[in-house]
Every structure is written in C-alpha cells, then in structure tokens.
Subunit: 166 residues, 2 copies
C-alpha cells in the first residue's frame, strides 16, 4: 500500500513536504514541456500549505498579491491554475468537499483514494491494490467498464481518535 498517511496526520517538517512537492512539480512540468508559471506555482504552494483540502476561494484568499502588479489574483485565474495542476496530476479534487489537495506522488500511476479526517480536516492519499482489485471485480460482475473512480473515506485520523476520548 502506497500512502502519505504518516505525513498527513502527524507533525513533521512540513517545509520539506512543500519543497519536495515543488521540486517534483518542476521536474514533471519540465519533462512534459508544460509551463509551471509563477501563478501556477503559487497556487500549488498555497494548496500545499497544509495537508487539508483547500477550497478554490480559500486559495484565492490565501494567495499573496501578484508579485508583478501587486493586485489580487482573482477566481478565474486560480481556477485555470487548478485545472492545469489537475491535468498534470499535481493535485486532486476532493468531490465531497469541493476542495483541492496536493498529490504526494505525482507521475506514478495510481488509482487513489482518500482518508479524510472529519476532526482536523487532514487528508491522506492511499493506493491499495486490494481496493483497486475489489473495485474492478465488483464492476465486472455488473458488466461495467471502469474508467475512473472517486473513493473518499471520512472518519477519524489516528491523532484525532486519541483526542476525542471515545
């Protein structure tokens, strides 16, 4: 099983998370001959500010002012960056939250699913063969051809299970 649950739920040197994500992003965009512009990079950095999925308008609010013009960066621009980052596989959309989160292992093929803590809001991404196989097999029994999947599990992360004394 591939997962970033250690990092997502426990305290750690988050700056390393961010810089690693940024480095990976640059490399991948370079390899794919697409442009990780300053704005796109800033959006990615904003999303990576935590392990909690972030809404598009939260991103708008938390983005620094445009370095060049000193003006705010508005929703359509942010949404364009989001679309770019989604296409490049650098972020994911969490459908149940209308929010976006950085992908911890972009570039690698993985049908992912998410463990989202209802208490602290942190989300871990996982990829488990067992689950993918189960999806494939159950779909097959209905003669259904799988093309994409959204799996979002809500509950309590390890830390918050301790916090809530029940």
């Amino acid at each position: 099983m591939l997962t970033n649950s250690r990092l997502a739920y426990h305290s750690h040197d988050h700056k390393r998370c961010v810089s690693a994500a940024l480095t990976r992003a640059k490399t991948l965009c370079d390899d794919s001959d697409v442009r990780l512009t300053p704005i796109r990079e800033a959006v990615l950095r904003t999303i990576w500010a935590s392990h909690r999925p972030l809404g598009a308008y939260d991103i708008v609010d938390q983005m620094a002012l445009n370095a060049a013009s000193g003006k705010r960066i508005l929703a359509p621009t942010v949404y364009r960056s989001i679309e770019f980052l989604l296409t490049q596989g650098l972020i994911h959309r969490i459908a149940t939250l209308n929010a976006y989160i950085g992908c911890p292992f972009p570039g690698s093929h993985h049908s992912d699913f998410f463990l989202i803590c209802r208490e602290c809001g942190s989300a871990a991404e996982c990829s488990a063969d067992q689950l993918n196989i189960a999806v494939e097999q159950t779909a097959k029994r209905a003669d259904f051809k799988v093309e994409s999947q959204v799996i979002e599990i809500a509950g309590l992360c390890p830390e918050c299970q301790q916090g809530s004394l029940k």
Copy 2:
C-alpha cells in the same frame, strides 16, 4: 453482491420500479413516524423518474405545480425534501455530479457504491462485501477509523459498451 444494475442499465417496466420505491418509502416513513408529505413524495417520484442522478434544479424544473396552490415549488422547498429523503435513506447524493438518485434498497444497512455510466448517465447502486472489507483493511493500515464512504465509479454500462464500438 447486492445491486440493481440489471434494472438501472436495461429496459424494464420502470413503472414498477417507481411504484415499488414509493411503496417502500411510505412503509419506512410510517415505521419511523415521519411524514412523507405530498411534496416530499413528489420529489421522490421525480427523482425516480429515471435511473439517472438528477440535479436539484432539474428536480425543481421537472416538478409539477403545487396541487394545492398551482404555484411552482421553489429551490429551498425542494432542498428541504432532499434533505429529508437523504436522512431517511430513501435517496443518495452523488458527490461527483451534484445530483441525487433513488435508493433501490432503503432500510437495509449497506455501505453503497455507484457505477455511473458516462454515456447514458444511468447509475447502479451496489454493495459488495469484498469492497467494504478492502476499504476497512486499507484504512486500518493507516490507523484510520472509517465513519462514512463515498465510492463513485465512472465508466461504461453494459448497454453503452455495445453502443460505442470500441
């Protein structure tokens, strides 16, 4: 595996689907001492008009005029009915589509998932132990306590696989 994929994807006597759903709904609401009012029943009937998830404003548009007053039934009222029907387990929300679909087996405990055809829009609900076990086990490996799950698979239903010749 529990599923309504037969009915969802293939032609059938849909009136029976609807009347069966309505009957179940009445029974369940009666048992739970909650009121399936005319409007709530009309919303449920509208959702059950097909096996395709229906958006809230589509429901608003497709609802008949209020039998009593002859006026349109507006969004907040429809949303209230949706909330009621969700609470009673009579319908489900499809997060990836912002849409709602009738539950074919309400009352029974089931952690469900959906097979949604991108071609015809029909969605089948399934419940497979194998998948639930896989979810539980992978979550457990991350020390995550599962409370609810959203699993939405997109692809091609049996009928539409034949239609699209590839």
